[in-house]
C-alpha cells in the first residue's frame, strides 16, 4: 500500500493553501500539484513581490503629479479638443489646478503641494503619465484595473501573480488585500475566478472597517483555550487518519488532514504579522501612526511591509473610506486635500522604510487609482472634476524600474494620453515582466481556451526598466 500510495500521491507537495486538489474535476489536467508551491519565473525577475497602493475613486493627475501650465493659462475656456465619445457626465470649461507645483530632488520632477512627503522620495519614483483605460465608471474601471476585463469575471492580477510564482512563505497566503472595497466589483477585484482557489486574495477586513479591527475571517475561536484546541486537532487528525485508512489513499482527504495543521500555524502567524506593537516608535512615527489623520492608512502601509517582508507575493492596500474616497465630482479642494493628507506621510514612510531595510530593490511599489479626472469642471462650483480614463498617472518605485523618471505624457490639458501611451493591458504586461513572467506565456486553460491577464493585448513598457 505504501508504494502505490506514493505513486498515487506523487507531486502532492502540500504548502499553505495546498492543495487545490481540483479533485479530478477541472476541465484541464488533473495533476494535483500545489498551485502555490514556489515556481521559477520565465526569466530573471526584477522584483519578487508587489505592494499596490490603490487610491479608490480616481485621484486627479493634473492636481498631483502631472502639472499642466496651459490649463492654468486657459482656465475658464472651453477644452479645445474633442471630448471623448462616451463620458460619465457632462463637464464645462477648463479648470486650473488649485494647487501649486514645485520641483523636487535631483530629478527635478514637479509634484503638487498635495504630496509634500512623497515629493521628498521623488528620486525613487518612476511616473507613467500616459496611462489610459477604457471604462469611465468606477465599477468597470476597477475591474479593468484589477482583472484586465470590465465585461467578464476574470482572475485578478494578484491571483495571476500567485498562480505564476507561488508563495515563499507556507504559513501565509500568497495574496493579501488590506481593507478592500466591497463596492464596484467587490470580491471580483481579488478573486481567482477560474484559477485555483488558493490563488485568491485573502481579505483582511474591508473598507468600512478601521484596519485596527480588520481581521482574516475565522482566525480565532474565543470559546476554546488554545491548548485544548490543540488536543481537539490531535483527535481530529487521528479520526481522519482512521477514515483515510478505511477509504484508501485519497489526495483530497490527505490534503484536508494537512490543511488543519496549516490553519493552526496560520492562526498563530497572522496575529503575529498584524501585531505592530514591537515596531519602534520611530517607525510608527515615520508611517504617521501616531497622528489621527494618518494613523489608519499608516497602519495599512506598515502591515503591507510586514506581509511583504514575510514573503507574501502581492499585498494590496486600499485607500477608501465609506465614500468613494478620491471621487471629487465636487468639493475637489477639500476632498483631495483630506485624501492626500491621509496618505502622503504613510506612503513616504513606507518607501523610506522599505529602502532602509533593503527591501525596495526587489519590491515593486505601485501607486494609482482606477482612472484620473477631467481637466474640465464638473458642476457649477468651479470645484469638481469628472472621471477620466483617457489619460492619467500612476507611479512605481523599486523593483528595477528607473528611479526619478517620467514616462509618457498627456496632452497640454491632461485629458488624453498623448505620447508613449500605456494602456492598462500594457501596465499588466509590464507588471508581470518585472516579476519575471512573460504575459503571453502565463496562461490558464479554461472553458475551451487559454486565458491571459492581458487577454489578446499588452506590450511591455521596456523604457521604464532600469
Amino acid at each position: 500500500m505504501t508504494m502505490s500510495r506514493r505513486q498515487f500521491l506523487k507531486q502532492s507537495a502540500l504548502g499553505f493553501g495546498s492543495l487545490a486538489l481540483t479533485s479530478m474535476l477541472t476541465e484541464t489536467a488533473s495533476a494535483a500539484v500545489d498551485p502555490l508551491a514556489p515556481k521559477k519565473p520565465h526569466f530573471p525577475a526584477r522584483a519578487k513581490r508587489v505592494i499596490f497602493l490603490f487610491m479608490k475613486g480616481g485621484p486627479s493627475h493634473m492636481d498631483t503629479f502631472d502639472p499642466k501650465p496651459l490649463l492654468t493659462r486657459d482656465h475658464g475656456k472651453p477644452f479645445p479638443g474633442n471630448k471623448p465619445r462616451v463620458q460619465f457626465a457632462e463637464t464645462g470649461t477648463l479648470l486650473r489646478s488649485p494647487w501649486k507645483f514645485k520641483k523636487y530632488g535631483q530629478s527635478g520632477i514637479e509634484v503638487s503641494e498635495l504630496f509634500p512627503n512623497v515629493a521628498e522620495c521623488v528620486d525613487d519614483l518612476c511616473f507613467i503619465h500616459s496611462m489610459h483605460g477604457t471604462n469611465p465608471a468606477h465599477g468597470g474601471a476597477l475591474l479593468k484595473l484589477h482583472t484586465g476585463s470590465d465585461s467578464f469575471v476574470r482572475p485578478s492580477m494578484g491571483s495571476w501573480i500567485s498562480y505564476g510564482l507561488g508563495t515563499e512563505n507556507q504559513n501565509l497566503p500568497a495574496f493579501v488585500t488590506v481593507c478592500p472595497t466591497l463596492a464596484h466589483g467587490g470580491v471580483n477585484n481579488w478573486a481567482s475566478a477560474f484559477l485555483p482557489a488558493a490563488c485568491q486574495g485573502v481579505p483582511i477586513g474591508n473598507a468600512s472597517v478601521p484596519v485596527e479591527q480588520a481581521k482574516i475571517r475565522y482566525i480565532q475561536n474565543a470559546g476554546i483555550p488554545a491548548g485544548l484546541q490543540r488536543h481537539q486537532l490531535d483527535l481530529l487528525a487521528e479520526m481522519n487518519r482512521d477514515h483515510l485508512n478505511r477509504t484508501g489513499p485519497d489526495l483530497s482527504l490527505e490534503g484536508r488532514i494537512d490543511s488543519f495543521e496549516l490553519a493552526f500555524r496560520m492562526q498563530r502567524s497572522i496575529p503575529e504579522v498584524e501585531d505592530i506593537s514591537k515596531e519602534t516608535a520611530a517607525t510608527k512615527t515615520m508611517y504617521g501612526i501616531d497622528e489621527p489623520v494618518t494613523s489608519n492608512f499608516g497602519r495599512q502601509c506598515l502591515l503591507a511591509r510586514r506581509f511583504a517582508e514575510r514573503g507574501v507575493r502581492f499585498v494590496q492596500v486600499t485607500h477608501s473610506d465609506s465614500m468613494v474616497q478620491w471621487d471629487q465630482h465636487g468639493n475637489l479642494k477639500k476632498g483631495h486635500e483630506k485624501n492626500a493628507r491621509e496618505v502622503d506621510k504613510p506612503i513616504a514612510g513606507l518607501l523610506k522604510d522599505l529602502k532602509s531595510r533593503g527591501l525596495l530593490k526587489d519590491t515593486l511599489v505601485i501607486w494609482g487609482g482606477e482612472f484620473g479626472r477631467t481637466p474640465t469642471v464638473e458642476g457649477g462650483g468651479n470645484d469638481g472634476r469628472d472621471h477620466n480614463p483617457e489619460g492619467f498617472t500612476i507611479w512605481m518605485a523599486g523593483g528595477g524600474v528607473k528611479p526619478g523618471f517620467r514616462y509618457g505624457t498627456t496632452d497640454d490639458y491632461g485629458w488624453y494620453a498623448a505620447t508613449d501611451k500605456v494602456h492598462l493591458h500594457d501596465f499588466h504586461a509590464t507588471l508581470l515582466h518585472i516579476l519575471g513572467m512573460d504575459h503571453e506565456k502565463l496562461t490558464y486553460r479554461h472553458a475551451g481556451r487559454d486565458f491571459r491577464l492581458t487577454d489578446v493585448a499588452g506590450k511591455v513598457v521596456t523604457k521604464i526598466l532600469a
Binding site: 500500500m1 502505490s4 498515487f8 493553501g17 495546498s18 492543495l19 487545490a20 486538489l21 481540483t22 479533485s23 479530478m24 474535476l25 477541472t26 476541465e27 463620458q87 465608471a137 468606477h138 468597470g140 476597477l142 475591474l143 470590465d150 469575471v153 472595497t181 466591497l182 463596492a183 466589483g185 467587490g186 478573486a191 475566478a193 485555483p196 482557489a197 488558493a198 473598507a207 468600512s208 482566525i219 475561536n221 485544548l228 488536543h231 481537539q232 486537532l233 483527535l235 487521528e238 481522519n240 477514515h243 483515510l244 477509504t247 484508501g248 489513499p249 483530497s252 482527504l253 490543511s259 488543519f260 496549516l262 490553519a263 493552526f264 492562526q267 477608501s320 465609506s322 472553458a447 475551451g448
Partner: protein, 779 residues
Amino acid sequence: MKRYATLILICGIIPSGFAGEPPLKPEDVRFFETRIRPLLADNCFSCHGPEKQKSDLRLDSAEAFRRGGSSGEMLINSAKAEQSLLLQLVQHADADKRMPPKKKLTEKQIADLLLWAKMGAPFPPKTTATPGEKHWAFQPMVNPVPPATKDNAWAKSPLDSFILAKLEAKNLRPAPPTDRRTLIRRATLDLTGIPPTPEDVESFLKESADNPQTAYENLVNRLLASPAYGERWGRHWLDVARYADSNGLDENIAFGNAWRYRDYVVAAFNKDKPFDQFLTEQLAGDLLPTPDTATRHERLIATGFLALGAKVLAEVDAKKMEMDIVDEQVDTVGRAFLGLTLGCARCHNHKFDPVTIDDYYGLAGIFQSTKTMEHFKKVARWYENPLATPEEIAKKAEHDEKIASLKEAIKAIKEAVELKKRKDELAELEKVSAELPTALGVTEGSVANTKVLLRGDHLTPGKLVPRQFPVVLAGAKQSPLADKESGRLELAKWLTKKDHPLTARVMVNRVWRWHFGQGLVRSTDNFGLIGEKPSHPELLDWLALRFVEGGWSIKALHRQIMLSATYQMGSTFDANSAEADPDNRLHWRANVRRLEAEAIRDSLLAVSGNLDKSMGGPSLQNIKNRDYLFDHTSKDKTTYDTRRRSIYLPVIRNNIYDVFQLFDGTDATVINGDRATTTVATQALFMMNGPLMVESATKLTSRLLEDKTLDDAGKVRQLYLTTYGRPPTDREEERAKKAIAGFEKELNADEPDAVKRRAKAWAFFGHVLLAANEFIYVN
C-alpha cells in the same frame, strides 16, 4: 455551398449536386472525386474559384456550375455533350475562346470531362468535412446495443454492461457493492443534500433484511418524492442558471424578485417537469399559449433564466451595454443547453469549434429582439414581467384610490384631533399598500436581424445576418424566423427536437456529473472540440436516447442511474485499478466525494436539530428590489442569520456568503456545471473557529445531554449514528469517552461550574465529529 455541404453531411446522406434531385450514385461520386474535381481544382479554380471569378464564372460547386458565367450560356448540356460549351472551350476549338488559355488539357482529361458531361455532370458537394464538422458531439445520437460482458451476473441494468465492458477490457473489476449504511447515506445526501436520520437508517436496514432490492427501490422513490429533493437538485440547476439575488459587477443592485425563479426551479424538479418543457419555459415561457393565470405567471417567471445575468449597469456606452447583455445570454444558453462556448464567436469565427461569427450574430439577433432591459441609460434598469392578477390590480387601484381621496380630505381638515385620527388612518393604509408582484424576466422586444460586429466592436458593424441557429447543427437552409417574433420559441423547439445531437446528451451528462462527481464528459459545459471526449460515448447516447424517449423525465433518469450496480458500488480502494485508471474514469469504484458548500451547511443544521425546513419565498431581508446591496460604504446589509436551507440564503454577487465562497460555491456570475473541490487552509480555519461549527456542535450535544435514558456510551453511540449514520467501534467509543474526560479536565481552571464544564467538553467533542472528513465526505 460549403455550408450546404455541412448540413448534408450532418444529415448523413449523399445528396445530388442539385437540390431536389435524387441522391447521387456512389460510383458517380467516386468518379467525380478522383477524376474531375482534381482536374477542375488544378486547372480552373485559380481563375474561377473562391478567389477570382473571371467572367463571373465559378466552377467549384454544382450550383455555380449550373449558373454559368456572364455569357449566360450553359456550360454543359448532357444531351449533346460533345457540343457543350465547356467541351468546346477545353478542346480549343475556337482560337479566341480557349480554356485553360495557356495550357491545353490532355486528351485523357478531355475524355474524362466528356464522359462526365454525358453522365449529367454530377457534382457532389465537397465531402472532406473539417475536423470540427466531424466532431463526435455534432453527430446524431446512435442507439447502441449494450455490450456483452464476460461476467454476466454483475450488471443490474444495461447501463452496467457499458461500464463493465470497459473495465473488463482493461482487466479491471468493479469494487464490491457498498454496505447498506453507506448506501443510504450516499443516496440520501445525493438526492436531498442532508444526511439520513438514525431512524431512516434503522428502518432501511430492517427493510433490507427482508428484500434488499425492494428496500432500496423504495428508498430511492421516497427520496425522490421528498420536497428536499427539489431543493437539492434545484440548487444544482441554479449553478447552471448562474442564479443570484443581486446584479453584481459594477452596480450591485438587488434582484429582489429573483427568488420567484428559484422557487420555480425547485418546484419543477419536485414535480418532475419534463426537461424539454423546463427548457422551453426558461427560454420562451412568455410566448407559450397558457390556459390559466397561474400557469401564465409560472412561465413568465421561468424566463428569469435569461434575465439573471450580471450586467454592467453603469456602462456609459449604451450600445455596448446592450450587446454585452445579449452576449451574456448567447453564452449562457450555449453553454447551458448545447455545451458550446458560443461567446467565443462574438469577435471572430470560433477558434476551435465550427461556429462562425455569423452563427453568433444569428443567435444574438434573437436576443436583441428580446426585451431584457427597460432602458440602457446609466444606471440602467432591467425589465420585470407583471404578475398581478386582475383582482390584485383592481384591489390595488381601489386601495390607491382610497389613499388619494383620504389625502385630499386631510387637506381640508383643520381640527387637530380629527386631523390626527385621519392621518393615522392614512399611515395605516399606506403601510399595507405594496408593490404589485413582478418577476425578473423577458418579453418580446422590437424584432430585427442584427449586424455582425467586427471584432465584437459595435463601432465597426458589418453585414446583416438573419436570426438563425448555428449552421453546423441546424444546416444552412433554415426556414427564416417570423418577422414578428424574436425566435426564442423556435430556438427552444429546435433545442428540444428529439434528434438534437446536444441537448439531451448535455443534460444527461450533467445529471451523471451531479451523481458521481465527474461527468462521462468531464467538461460538462463544453462539448466542443476543446472539451473532453466522453469516457463512455455509447452509454452517453444510450442514456440520452432513453431520456428523450421517456418524456425527458429527470426522475426516471435518477432511477435509471441509482438502481444500477455501478451506482451501488463501494468505494474500496484497489492499487491495481488505481494505477491503471487513477482518475477513476472507468468507474472501478465509487468516488469519495466532498459535500458541496450548501450541503455542508445544511448537514450541520440538520444533525444538530437546527434546520428550519420551511420552503420558498424571498431571500433578501431589509433590502427592496433594485436597492443597492453595496453602495460606496462597503457595509454589508445582507444577513445570513437564518436556519433555513442554504438554497434560500441570499446569493449576493461580489460578496457571496463567505462559508460558500470557502467551500467552492459558484460565484453566481457564470454557469458552473462542474464545481471544483479545493482544499485550502482557510476552510480549516472555518471548521475550527466558525460560529456555525461551534453552534452546531453545542446544539448537537446539548440535546443529547438532556436525554437521561442514555449513559455516556449510549450518548457517544447516538452521536455517531446522527452524524455518520453508523455506530462507533469499541475503540472509537473508548477514545471518545477518554477525549471528553480529557477536555473536562483541561477546562477545570476556565470553567468552575461542573455542569457547564461537562456540556462544553461534550460540545468540543461534537465539534471534532462535525469537522472530521467522515462528516463532509460521502463514500
